[in-house]
């Protein structure tokens, strides 16, 4: 047991650390432990994993590098950050692929044992970077981590060579804990829980973690440690949550609040599968899941469950959404509640499955045959995935039309502190179920305000009725080829979605409420855009504001008013300009400037600042 040092250290506001190594080196675990410990300490944190698409790429290869970035601070942290203050590289390939992210003059810790001739070749180094002077612009801390780990564990019995080598990541973590004044307690507790029945593994990991910590303490190469004070966060009970988990939990909360059972039909796809993995655990809440034979069966089984009265959900990513298109049109046509989650990834086609992008927006809006409008909303941070999953369920149940919830790989895999929401504090969710037959009841009777039709569930006597993909008579729901009826129904389906405007909040501008430049974004780019605008605001630019959209179809009622308050508008998206198309279609007379990036990467702070500064002078 080690407690953090009492001596004063250099105090930093925020620091960005990236752990990189082979995909078998345990970098995700190392990074998660560091961020969880920091969160417990009271820092604000944001994390982002970066792992290869191959599960076990050849050891030591450039494309087998796995990384985990952690941004911690005593100030508000909105993104996992761009360039890093500390790089921990467990092998040459990790160093090679990540060095350009390290800020000049900053520190890189390397495991010198891994810099063998063979590994250098695999990383395509012609000479050893530790010897050829190519790292002279950085502070390099060379540590023989593998041998030190072996030495530490030589007295522990019952460990094979592989287990010993695999715990070297804990040596690195121990060092970093000391450098940033973190306690090792949380991680040791984690070992005790995780390896309850494997006492040698607990002992080995604890020993190596402590060894790394003491090594850093005694090492003259680390002249001073840094500390990061707890952040000023709203008081309450928190936990660190990943976006995909938050999404899953939002649906759990919605099911409990609405009194309905949750049904998920899904087919595994990166980066959405974690929602399935999470929900399948929760049978104790009555959650039903079907891992279907394909994407189409994922959504159609959900449509069946919805017809039978469940809160129905299907989860996917871009290519899967393309496959679900026809069925989504059916759900819209028969006016049943259904939530589709699209965790966007790089497209088109198979694209960049493990990278992030916002390029499914127009598919979400229009990717169906005929005129088939649905509600489209987007989450914007890992933790508000909870709120928007809940909102998606609420909207679909209250308005009887499908809701498409967009998240993306960046916020779905990223994690951040979440101030835990009790279901008791969440808004009410109504639904349109009818249980008893009455005279003059018809399946397509609508609520006069929302235009939502009623929801008659099999098992209810006297409410037997048929629905289907053929155009329906406006009242009975029977098949109708009457021309005027088709036009009427087309309009009413659109009007129903439009009227959702009356039930969603206005868009709020942050920082300047009027002025020279309005930064417009939507979905997962919020953290990046917010940080950039905040930085400019802190630097004295009082004429720049940000309007970030979570509601896309329909748009908030006051959108045009907000746009009018600024001289220039720049729409920033991780695609070639899709939301801007929607704005152009809806609002005339504006010049929409654009900042687009299609690299499978989030916006970098400096590219945003540079662009915004060029527009405000």
């Amino acid at each position: 047991m080690i407690t953090a040092k009492a001596e004063p250290q250099e105090v930093l506001e925020a620091v960005i650390i990236r752990f990189v190594g082979d995909s078998g080196d345990g970098m995700q675990l190392t990074g998660t432990q560091f961020s969880d410990t920091s969160a417990m300490f009271g820092n604000d944190v944001a994390t982002f994993p970066n792992y290869p698409a191959e599960i076990r790429a050849p050891q030591g290869s450039l494309y087998g590098v796995s990384g985990f970035q952690v941004h911690i601070g005593s100030v508000e942290i909105s993104t996992p950050g761009d360039n890093v203050d500390l790089l921990v590289a467990m092998n040459p390939a990790g160093l090679k692929t990540n060095l350009r992210a390290l800020k000049p003059g900053h520190t890189v810790i390397v495991d010198t044992d891994s810099f063998s001739k063979k590994n250098l070749e695999k990383a395509q180094y012609e000479s050893n970077p530790l010897e050829d002077g190519s790292l002279e612009n950085y502070r390099v801390i060379e540590v023989a981590m593998t041998s030190l780990t072996k030495e530490t564990l030589k007295a522990v019995e019952g460990l094979d060579n592989k287990s010993i080598t695999r715990s070297k990541n804990m040596f690195a973590l121990g060092m970093v804990y000391w450098m940033y004044d973190r306690s090792t307690d949380y991680t040791i507790e984690f070992f005790n829980k995780k390896f309850k029945n494997k006492p040698q593994i607990i002992e080995a990991n604890t020993k190596v973690l402590n060894a790394g910590y003491y090594f850093a303490e005694t090492l003259e190469l680390i002249p001073n440690a840094y500390t990061i004070a707890p952040a000023k966060m709203e008081s309450g009970t928190y936990r660190i949550i990943m976006g995909n988990t938050a999404t899953a939990w939002g649906f759990l909360a919605a099911a409990e609040k609405s009194g309905l059972e949750l049904f998920l039909g899904s087919y595994p796809i990166t980066p959405a599968s974690d929602i399935l993995h999470e929900l399948v655990k929760h049978k104790h809440f009555g959650v039903k899941t079907l891992q279907a034979e394909d994407e189409i069966a994922g959504i159609t089984s959900a449509i069946g469950a919805s017809f039978a009265g469940d809160l129905a959900l299907t989860t996917t990513s871009g290519p899967g959404l393309a496959l679900k298109g026809e069925a989504l049109g059916l759900a819209m046509m028969i006016e049943l509640p259904l939530v589709v989650v699209d965790v966007q990834r790089g497209g088109p086609s198979t694209g960049l499955p493990t990278k992030t992008e916002q390029s499914d927006l127009l598919q979400a809006m229009y990717g169906r045959n005929g005129e088939s409008p649905i509600i489209v909303i987007a989450a914007s941070t890992p933790s508000n995935c909870f709120d928007f999953a809940y909102e998606a369920a609420k909207l679909t149940l209250e308005h009887m039309t499908p809701v498409l919830l967009l998240t993306d790989g960046y916020i779905a895999n990223g994690s951040a502190p979440w101030k835990i929401r009790s279901v008791d504090d969440m808004p009410e969710i109504k639904n349109n179920k009818v249980s008893e037959a009455h005279e003059n009841w018809h399946p397509y009777d609508r609520d006069e305000n929302s235009l939502a039709r009623n929801w008659a569930i099999p098992g209810s006597p006297g409410l037997e009725h048929r629905v289907g993909g053929l155009e329906k008579d406006r009242v009975s729901g029977n098949v109708s080829y009457v021309p005027e009826n088709h036009e009427y129904m087309t309009k009413i389906r659109a009007e129903k979605v439009k009227r959702v405007q009356n039930y969603i909040p206005d868009i709020e501008t942050e920082f300047a409420q009027e002025g020279d430049l309005l930064v417009v974004g939507w979905g997962g780019t919020y953290g990046s855009l917010y940080s950039a605008v905040k930085q400019m605001s802190d630097e004295g630019h009082s004429n720049i504001g940000i309007a970030h959209f979570n509601y896309i179809n329909p748009l908030p009622k006051n959108t045009e008013e907000v746009l009018k308050k600024f001289k220039k508008i720049i729409v920033c998206e991780l695609n070639s300009g899709q939301f801007v198309q929607i704005l152009k279609t809806n609002f005339n007379g504006f010049e929409f400037l654009q900042l687009n990036k299609v690299q499978g990467l989030p916006f970098a702070n400096n590219e945003l600042i540079q662009k915004f500064k060029s527009l405000v002078k």
Partner: protein, 336 residues
């Protein structure tokens, strides 16, 4: 004890919609057989759900005064699976055709059979696409001339039963579209069976593929060409009840009782409940005689039974009864 189910007649299951199939179509026979079978099943009308895909047969739910969904092409088995998982108390029926189930919906068709939910699938097989006006289907014969195969079809057909048994179907029955009493009875038996039941109806399309099953189903020949199997009974057929099936090596052979010393004792006795589908596969493939009746009816655990057992287990092991228990569990921390 549940409330007694009221007495229904076929009229209770007839909707107010005008039936729009072509005159003379076997679909009428199937519809009326279903409307007659349902009152015999002991299910409440409000608990019955028909899910169909696309095609002539898939208009079926509109004509039934029950809950129903006329969905999209090929997807009815997946939709029905969702209905059944959401509410296992419902009597769920899939209505499909040879194109709907074995072409565009082939994947859902095999997986629903594999999973063995307690639902029923009625497959209207007419070896042609009717609604799209006469293209060959996955059960059309090689050489068959259709709108999309004017010089003869070059794609070898699926046998629905063979495909189904390969996909582990627990219940497979085949009936001719001109035998309403048999169809009605098979529907009742299928509903009783716990697991996925597949009923293939050999359905004549009088417009695009008229007479495709005549050589088996015509009244003049059917007793000589069809073997109607019943569990526990010898495999006898023929107008004179003098033909039967025996196993010769790994093949079925037709024998005549009274010839070469063959007696009824020598004939195969049908065992629909056998787990090993080998003999069922042979019966399904046989062209002479063409086999009708319940060919396979093997009792097995259903998907909903497995799911229920798991849910009970997880519930009893879990410390979470509401979501707050989960949200506030594990690594949480306070900020003042």
């Amino acid at each position: 004890m549940e409330a007694a189910v009221k007495e229904y007649t076929y009229k209770d299951f007839s909707s107010d919609q005008e039936v729009r199939w072509c005159p003379g179509c076997d679909d009428y026979v199937i519809l009326r057989s279903m409307q007659k079978a349902l009152p015999e099943m002991g299910v409440k009308k409000e608990d019955v759900v028909f899910i169909s895909g696309i095609g002539c047969s898939s208009r079926f739910p509109y004509y039934m005064d029950t809950y129903g969904m006329h969905s999209i092409h090929g997807r009815a088995p997946a939709i029905a699976s969702g209905v059944k998982l959401a509410n296992p108390d419902l009597s769920v029926w899939v209505i499909t055709g040879d194109g709907d189930s074995m072409a565009i919906g082939g994947n859902h068709f095999i997986h629903v059979l594999r999973r063995n939910l307690d639902l029923n699938i009625v497959l209207f097989n007419n070896e042609i696409y009717g609604l799209t006006k006469g293209q060959f289907s996955p059960t059309s014969l090689v050489g068959q001339k259709t709108k999309s195969s004017p010089y003869g079809n070059t794609q070898p057909p699926f046998s629905a039963g063979e495909l189904a048994l390969g996909a582990q179907a627990r219940f497979f029955a085949r009936v001719a579209g001109n035998t309403p009493k048999e169809i009605t009875q098979v529907f009742i038996d299928a509903e009783k069976f716990k697991g996925t039941s597949l009923i293939e109806v050999l359905q004549n399309c009088p417009i695009f593929n008229d007479g495709c099953f005549t050589k088996y189903t015509d009244k003049a020949v059917r007793e000589d060409r069809q073997l109607h199997v019943e569990h526990g009974k010898p495999m006898i057929f023929g107008k004179e009840r003098d033909k039967g099936l025996v196993l010769n090596g790994l093949k079925l052979e037709v024998v005549t009782i009274g010839e070469n010393g063959i007696t009824q004792e020598d004939l195969l006795v049908h065992n629909a409940k056998e787990q090993d589908p080998t003999l069922h596969q042979m019966l399904v493939r046989s062209e002479y005689p063409m086999v009708t009746g319940i060919i396979r009816s093997f009792d097995d655990v259903t998907l909903e039974e497995r799911e229920d057992a798991l849910t009970v287990q997880v519930k009893s092991d879990s410390q979470f009864s509401k979501t707050d228990d989960l949200f506030f569990s594990g690594d949480i921390y306070e900020v003042d």
